[in-house]
Subunit: 411 residues, 4 copies
């Protein structure tokens, strides 16, 4: 069970670290400062220059599409990717610069595994090239989407078309003017068995009948120009070919979509935590109160030590989950994925919050990235299912050996 950095990873990791530290992170603030200029939902020329310039550099250096762990050829495995993703968690722009940003990575996996050749040509190729972006429309405002069987956007066949009606929200990335296509979870047959009612369908962003109701806010942030949108679909028509795989395959695809991608955000969260600890340490040795550096006051040693211990444990758990994925047995890997989904955001939030506190009022302000890191990380406890659902999965897996053969359902 090798969880370490491999020989082949090391130069890649060094290049990624170096590019983030010296080329990407230094432009984060400038990029974000352009957001309020003009229409929040377009890119300013400077934003385009920054982002596309960095992307081109990354592509030229072959620091691109690392997430694609299952492609042919000498692709990195999930353990190796984890080390890279962690670094990307330390900068606002980094994931996109390397074309490793959500939700595109998951969507690319869907097209790659379940798409027709036409879809691959039309959508996968430009996504892989970083020319367009995409969104994934799953969650709905009226139902508890943590129980995905509740998803209720209707999708009815009408001749050669499907017609979609309903609302979706939290369509992350849908504000981006480059966002060209949506993959959508819909209900095609409310009378089918519980896990066969749903399907996945591909809808171009410019299809008639799609109304952008409003950008959702995260603790007051709209995260423009990327954004999280609330949509209303009214008689949105797409050709039947746009349905992925077949009616009733929605859950199967959702599971597949969330392969390695399921823990990319965990890896990045650990990177955020590591960065927050770094800021905390820098602050603790440079700021003085009551005649001493903060590091020597009260429980600050304990806070720093606990932060280090939590990060190391979470990182190892994340690497172990990645390693389980790399073994290829999805069922065996599942509880490990659930575990890290609970642990990574939780410890990152704790450590970021401690770093905020160590910075005093500066910590909650725009003068450090901490406040923004916290609100971003907070959504992870919900974005891919609430903690409670993942803990439920872990518990069910744990109890299985004790109940099998007893005919007693676990819960």
């Amino acid at each position: 069970m090798d969880l370490g950095q491999t020989e082949r990873l090391m130069p890649v990791l060094a290049a990624v670290k170096d590019m983030i530290a010296h080329e990407i992170a230094p432009l984060d603030s400038e990029f974000l400062a352009e957001v309020p200029i003009g229409d929040r939902w377009t890119f300013t020329p400077r934003q385009t220059e920054i982002l596309e310039g960095l992307k081109q550099k990354a592509k030229d250096r072959k620091l691109w599409n690392f997430w694609d762990t299952f492609r042919e050829g000498p692709a990195l495995n999930t353990v190796e990717y984890a080390y890279l993703a962690e670094e990307m968690g330390k900068s606002h722009l980094a994931a996109e610069v390397f074309n490793c940003n959500a939700p595109d990575t998951g969507n690319m996996e869907v097209f790659s595994r379940y798409g027709t050749q036409a879809m691959k040509d039309q959508w996968l190729a430009p996504l892989m090239a970083g020319d367009i972006r995409s969104a994934y429309l799953m969650t709905e405002p009226q139902v508890a989407s943590s129980d995905a069987t509740n998803i209720s956007m209707s999708c009815v066949r009408d001749g050669d078309h499907y017609v979609l009606n309903g609302e979706k929200w939290w369509a992350t990335g849908a504000g981006d003017p480059r966002c060209a296509v949506y993959i959508i979870m819909v209900r095609t047959n409310a009378d089918a068995p519980r896990h066969e009612q749903h399907s996945m369908i591909v809808v171009p962003a410019d299809t008639a009948g799609i109304e952008k109701l409003r950008p959702m806010q995260v603790y007051g942030h709209d995260d423009a120009p990327h954004g999280h949108f609330h949509f209303r679909f009214k008689d949105v028509r797409v050709p039947v070919e746009n349905l992925l795989v077949g009616e009733g395959k929605g859950f199967e695809i959702a599971q597949g979509r969330l392969g390695p991608g399921r823990i990319h955000h965990c890896m990045r969260a650990i990177g955020s935590a590591e960065y927050a600890l770094q800021l905390m340490c820098e602050r603790s040795v440079s700021r003085t109160a009551f005649g001493k550096p903060l590091s020597q006051l009260g429980e600050n040693f304990d806070i720093i030590a606990e932060s280090r211990m939590k990060i190391e444990q979470a990182r190892l758990l994340c690497l172990k989950a990645a390693w389980m994925m790399d073994q290829g047995d999805k069922k065996a890997a599942a509880p490990w994925i659930s575990q890290i989904k609970v642990v990574a955001p939780q410890i990152a939030l704790e450590i970021i919050d401690q770093a905020v506190q160590m910075h005093g009022a500066a910590g909650v302000s725009q003068d450090t990235p901490l406040a923004h890191m916290w609100t971003n990380t907070r959504t992870l406890r919900l974005a891919d299912g609430p903690d409670a659902v993942h803990r439920r999965q872990v518990a069910r897996a744990e109890l299985k050996p004790y109940t099998q053969g007893q005919n007693a359902p676990v819960g």
Copy 2:
């Protein structure tokens, strides 16, 4: 030790509750929705209409200036005020409607106790009437202001004037166009003993040399039009009469300023927590997942119960601290004030965060007041000194009996 609601309080409390529930809270969202319209730092006509209309009603009903627990006549005591302040914590506008908003209450106390008759006429009277607003400039960006002896804005006498130079930030309320006057902590003599170097001085907001550098953000919110401002003072001159009490009296006044006012925000935080629990309960019985209302899933019963237990304990502690204040022995009351300053924000944050989680993605969004409540409450762990400083005070008080007579300094 009567911590209950007195006979005389009951009708007042009922009137306040009623006005908040039926007249103030329903306008909170409309008021906030006007913020992005035009210049964020002016009031729209509708904002003025809402706020001044409500204030006039409150004044007409004599629901006004409750905070003034020490005035002549049948003023409420601090325990009684606590019940009112808690209610105000449940609505964005309520505290200001009743003229009980920070930092004005504390500033009015300063003028009342330490001001000259001229100051009372010029500033106290219109503040008591709700005609102007004020700010309190204490914290500075370059020093750890949790240790207030670090405060370093210079204030040098030059003939009949004092000349101020330096920076202040987190001047809450200074963005408000009605904000007419600042009370400022300055260093008048760096060579005096540690606690006699500082003074308080009154500076009209329109004095020459005051530069508003920028609004500070709290987790991305600028809280316009109220705001938290970062100022630079360059050769700002005020008459010597503007100095409060005398040179070197800064700490004495700061202590006095933070009389009952020290725990108003704790009382309001408990109100926020109570409101968050209410939202949590409503959600838990109305939302269904996995075939059950959320209330019946997993640890949700435990979360609700723990929230209730934390609120009750914090409220009782707050009432006890208020009661200690009402006894008139400031030294005896001090550790109780420190205790509630740690406890109230902490439990409110925990409960609001649980309520966020119970709401799923809606919890972090603009569709509930929870996200905004959380960011507001988070600042309380810093605004009036970080938790760690208050805990330090509690510990020192606790250990005093064990070390007295030992000539051993406690810490």
Copy 3:
């Protein structure tokens, strides 16, 4: 809502404190040191001398039966009693010295409220006088007794007698040679509705057919000579008159039994916590490491402050629950009782454990009372129902207003 110490309480409280500090606590260790001498389940002459000597003194001073808050005449109320019980929590022998020890207080309440005159003469009088002791047999080894409807000891009428069969365990106090009578929860009719199947019956300790299987241990302690016994009942016959009130009244009596007595142990737990904090402080200022007193190292200030804040909150909550009881509305008081049952043991355990840690290896040893205090307190999280059951009660009460009228069962 007066939660303070009343005029009439003050001299009593002073006398109790004084007697504990100077006469009772100093003999705790000597009493406990006699336990291993001879048969653990008899009293040594010195034990008898200590205990009966102290009891006589308490009786002479009218410091006796304080728990009896509902008796005629100038009895103390529950709030007042709370202050006394807290003091008793600081010494091993104190509760018994004042005849305020469990389970006798609860049993005396049962006899007083539900007993016949004959029972009062035979059992209540000598219990009130401290001449005998009693046990309460409720919990059974084979069933989850946290759900009391599971209780299954059979009690079948046979002419003028009832015949009992089954097992009981954790009969606290049953090892005491002075323990003369048991009150027992039995199932008289397994076919009745869920809450009418059970009854309470009085059984003299020397009745034929009762077998003491073994003393139960609490973290290795048998708590001799008091003890917690595991019994087997085989055809144990008692006259029908021994049944309390009537068949099917078991739950009603159990509720009544656990009136004020329900929170006596909470009050004492708070006393234990207070005592642990005292030991922690003494240690922290007298022990030196790395050149400083422990109090000044790392997070010890924070630990001391947190302990103080937890105790104050728990104490106020306990007093509030007591006050609710004193108002006479049992239904309204119920959730408050559940709350303090969760809170008091929890905070006491945390504080005792921190005190253990502050003492280093001495903390886990026989050289301080802390280890014994911890194991005693740990059982409180189970003894009167596990935490989870009390939290469930609190949550159900909290949610009631949200579900009433909705025909939706809460949980």
Copy 4:
């Protein structure tokens, strides 16, 4: 960084698991039940038969001295040993059966690295063979031994002898009648620099002048016949050859002694936690309350899931610390060792306590091993230095890069 089970480990691990499950663990209770028979500090014939019988079997199967990771030949490394030690943590007798018990493993390391040939012949050989046992005398009652520079037992040269005077306590294993030799930390020169005052010396258990004052208790347990003893040394004389390495080398040897052995107890604690989780799961599916198995009530799913996540993280951290040790750079490994020393006991205590709670009253009793597991594990938070000291080490290591070159001491 291979943290997995190696090929060569697998058959050994299987044999160890098998022997514990089928031959050792089933005799744990019988062995412990013999303790109160006769003199607690001798072995009963049955105890000897059980223990020596198992040891002989283990030796015959070459399941012996696994701890000796640095010996010549195909010894296991520390990562591999971790898997074995974890299994030993699930049974009371297992560690000793495989001659892997503390404090003998550490003492054997001392003799092996620092002993003369004479010492190796006299003490190391029979210890390796399991024929005698040993104790390590470090901690003293009068000083905070967490700061080892406080150690004050005097050791003065007098001709060809050293003369020892002072007290030691918590000499684990010293009650065992087979315990033949002590390794003792003493102060040979109070005037030397802080870290050169101390030495290590070998003292046969039967040397004149050694008084066994009393067995120390751990939450009331004396752990006979093994025990933790309090000693008084009065003019105890040993030949100068008994001094290890040289005067002033005490700290150097203490560091060396605590090589891999430093985390053996962490590995075993993880085994205990795993065993507690197993008992918790078994209980949760087999016990019913309120009409459901406990597993389906309230937060029990969450408790089980959190336990699993804590164990996995702690195990990985332990394996990483072991791997760091195996790399041979002691300085680099040190903070990892400190980390796991904090984490392993903490999570084990939490999980054992949750398992106790899930078992209701049975959990605190002698009917499950949980209560004993808890008290044993609780001492680990002190035995090898309190948590706070380890956290301090972690924090200092963390802050080093931020302060180096600044001439600012970290704390």
